[in-house]
Amino acid sequence: MMLKSVFTTAVLGAALAVSGGSSAQQPAQNPLDVIPEKMPFDIPSGTPITLDRAQAAVAAAIAESKKRDWRMNVAVVGPSGRLIAFARMDGAQRASINIAEHKARTAALYRRETKVFENAVQQGNLHYILTLDDVIASRGGIPLVEGGKLIGGIGCSGGTGSQDEAVCKVGAATINK
């Protein structure tokens, strides 16, 4: 009985708010209800990155990692998300083999840095992101974009997310201008 009356009040209250337009009574709006005008991260696919350039990106990331005395796994994938070049530095942790590839794949398939997902979960409390297919919500994956077209993705793993990202950025900079 008590429940029912509360329910009735709530429904009526909502109806009044809609008809009366008294915004003060409205519950907080769900930010996910907003419909943006444009597509986010709307990057068309280009010709997949060549092996030479993929290896150059891996080499750049490894050189940066060596400079800092870190041990990383570095993966470069094509727009399809499949591996083109990979290297594990001596002593790099094995769990990060798959993580590096995953970050590269997610960056390529979602056309955005994996940090976007990390921020969404960590700072935006958008936990639903973790239910999306093949997401990895950890920085260190960056799409490779040339002339406005997606040609692949690079992912690094082995240290903290911030270390991974520092190295990944150097690798990505060989393509992304």
Binding site: L51, A54, I62, G78, R82, L83, I84, A85, A87, R88
Partner: protein, 132 residues
């Protein structure tokens, strides 16, 4: 305690370069994967023109050779010889995966995919030869 040799990234690059040279000589576009003795990926390259699927297959062949300490052709031959029960084993029984043995220890494996299976193995063997 026993100590055993272990592949470095430099070793992988040397092996990979020899494999790639063998492939280029024959105008083959393949994926070359090098894994450690536990079947974990150390180094991989997909030559321009090889398919995305080749990347997965090369890793699968390499992993099989690494953890079983024998060529994937061994598995393929045994299954082709009638041991169909082996299809249920956690292996990719297709020629093109070769273990890397140093001082009588398996230190990893090479997996190649992209051309005919016996050609894949030919490329892998060129990598083994480069290690000396």
């Amino acid at each position: 305690m026993k100590t055993k040799p272990c592949l470095t990234l430099e070793d992988c690059k040397k092996i990979g370069a020899a494999c790639e040279a063998e492939a280029r000589k024959n105008k083959w576009n393949v994926v070359i994967a090098i894994l450690d003795e536990g079947g974990h990926l150390l180094w991989l390259e997909r030559m321009d023109g090889a398919t995305p699927a080749n990347a997965e297959i090369a890793i699968g062949k390499g992993r099989t050779a690494a953890v079983t300490r024998r060529t994937t052709k061994t598995w393929e031959d045994r299954i082709a010889g009638g041991r169909l029960a082996m299809l249920g084993m956690p292996v990719l029984p297709v020629q093109g995966g070769v273990p890397i043995v140093v001082q009588n220890e398996c230190v990893g494996a090479i997996g190649v995919s992209g051309v005919q299976s016996h050609e894949d193995e030919q490329i892998a063997n060129a990598g083994i030869a480069a290690l000396g």
